[in-house]
Amino acid sequence: MSRIGVFICHCGENIARTVDCARLAEESGKLPGVMVSVDYKYMCSDPGQNMIKRAIAEHKLDGVVVAACSPHMHEPTFRAAVVQSGMNPYLCEMANIREHCSWVHTDRELATEKAIDLVRVMVEKVKRNQELFPIRVPITKRALVIGGGIAGIQAALDIAAGGHEVILVERQPSVGGNMARLSETFPTLDCSQCILTPRMVEVARDPRITLYTYAEVEEVEGFVGNFKVKIRQKAKSVNADICNGCGDCWNKCPMKKIPSEFDAGLGYRTAIYVPFPQAVPNTPVIDREHCLKFLKDKCGVCAKVCTRGAIDYEMQDEIIEAEVGAIVVATGYDLYGIGKEQPNERWKGYGEYNYDTYKDVINGIQFERLLSASGPTQGEVRRPSDGKVPKSVAFIACVGSRDPEKGIEYCSKICCMYVAKHAMLYKHKVHDGQPYIFYMDIRAGGKNYEEFVRRAVEEDGVLYIRGRVSKIYKDGDQLVVVGADTLSDSQVQIRADLVVLATAMVPHKNAYEFAQKIGIACGSEGFYSEAHPKLRPVETMTAGIYLAGACQAPKDIPDAVAQASAAASKVQLLFSSDELEREPIVAKVNEVTCVHCRNCIRVCPYSAIDDKEIRDRHGNLIRMVAEVNEGMCMGCGTCVAACPSKSVQLAGFNDEQVFAEILALGHE
């Protein structure tokens, strides 16, 4: 027989005005199993809580129902109170007679009837509540950072600075990401490489950071605090331990005309290469798709010239397994390829701009390379077709962005700023040149951003034309940009030597597949989803996985760095204790009755349920069942409803409890 106490709160007048609390206490007292039923003006006050604590001891209660406000308000208060009397907190429940009753009804009699029902429901439930204990999960205090751009670098450095080990994985042969390709950065115009390379060197040098470049994360298993990851270290064909980065190999490599990815196709590289001179690590890799040794089994010059014998044509991909407690995803962005070939049906491209056809129609990152001192023109602005210095340049903003017709509705956020910067830097290099900018609006929200745009207009004579460009065609060796000027309501034609398109930022092309692989969610555009758009902007819905940088949404460098530091601090917070304590509202499988239909495994939104083998003592497989991983289960109960043999139950909300609640309403 249960011994339940019912404690009814007047909440001053808030409840008592509409609900007859004395009658409620009297009726509740008649319920089977209720040992004590009292009402009081403020149950949450100290005297109220003491009343509960005393009653638990006096009446040897094994369950408490507090009929008061919403459990979202005071459940923690009352559960903490019963704990002080030695009762398990999960034996205390609340009946919501304020928000769900007294505040929304006016008929005293009907409201009191409802309150009696609500109390009865909770009394029946609490009789079947079991003692539950927080689940403790150990934490591996090592973080994995995926992506070695500025966001990944910042996150790795911050976590390492907190004294934890970090594994940093970068797909390219060098860290640095897109930021390493930029010339100068708005709004301060400091050289991108000058501020970035010290950070790159730091991640390579920090003893707590293990850096894998030319590597990709293949698999993520496990859960918060206890992830198991597999990293594919692609064969570099160069032994990084021996190589000293002297450069003899790439200087002698005969394959000199391979378009450089780093220079966005404007420059060339060799088959054995480092992407750029300041690369970290400064170890070359062999691009096997272009190397004569691999294509035709000829050449082998790099091995011959390498005095240290670091070249290893036999090298194989290697799978590295690691255990980590937290993951920061910082996989960055791509640019909308605006040509005719598009990766999906929604994106229509901009065939009318002839990006594919005309060499002198380039995108923003290509123009960055033309401006960069480490770029293919050593920082001189020369157009790709004939190397001439362009005397007029048309910059077109919002190419792809904010254009639902072409497939992308969002604003790429950074283009207004970098277009202004491009026009400014061009003017600084070609004093007699004329930059034109076609724009929709100027969005310069950010510290010193608006001032920067004004400077471009007022000091550098950049000509802003508000309107869209309808087509670009060739006339002689110039390009004619045809567009509208919506401020003067006229058509304009600009003759330009070079056209730069500010193309939209899009998620990395494998973003969706990668999200599936590691178990996080993507929005419709493919950017990774944060747990809450305002209050949890760096967490994902998967506990222990955090986001940093442009993989979550288009953002500029300061925002990416801020988010990376925020993600790092979340990781530090997680690593600040040795064990993770979780609410014990989790599902559990009854292995005796489970028939292994796998329904629960299929419906679990968290992939928290897995197959389990039951073997006899000789190791022979007897049968298979499902098993819930307590560390991953979030307690939604979807598996419980899906189980045909009722072999999964959710602690705190098991079938017995819910049916008892329903039965409690069927009394008449």
Partner: protein
């Protein structure tokens, strides 16, 4: 608060025999329960005939809960959770939606009056929607009257 009291005073005392609709609502903890809390904090007055049973997620709602509710004399059953795409548990409400679509067809096939089962989405921000929904459902069930068909069948099967 004075007006509240006056309203109560004006009403005749509830007669013992007068039928009142009995409606059981299964709601998720994160959206609809919180939405109903909001209706409370906003003091939106609505009909007092609905009894809420809180579950973590609509995904937890077993269709047998609905049957059991009718068996226990409910005249109507409501199921409400987070809007599609907004589930606290990412996808529980999708599973619920799919489960109820099949369940609906089955009930309909059995000749069940589907006007007595109401599915809806109410978010934590939709206190007004919750109140309106309850009023609408209570109105509808009042029109339909007590669920005698089910009770009669139940009585027959007991014989």
């Amino acid at each position: 608060m004075v007006s509240d009291e006056m309203e109560t005073e004006g009403k005749p005392a509830l007669s013992e025999k007068e039928w009142q609709p009995k409606i059981i609502a299964f709601v998720c903890n994160w959206c609809t329960y919180a939405g109903a809390d909001l209706a409370g904090t906003s003091r939106i007055v609505y009909e007092p005939h609905v009894r809420v049973i809180k579950l973590p997620c609509t995904g937890r709602i077993d269709v047998s809960f609905i049957i059991k509710a009718f068996e226990q004399g409910a005249d109507g059953v409501m199921v409400s959770g987070c809007h599609p795409g907004d589930c606290h548990y990412t996808a529980g409400n999708y599973h619920a939606r799919r489960r109820f679509a099949g369940f609906r067809d089955l009930l309909e096939f059995c000749g069940f009056d589907m006007r007595r089962v109401i599915f809806s989405w109410v978010s934590a921000a939709e206190g007004k929607k919750w109140a309106d929904l309850v009023n609408e459902v209570v109105g509808k069930i009042r029109e339909l009257g007590p669920f005698k068909e089910y009770q009669n069948l139940l009585a027959q099967s007991a014989l």
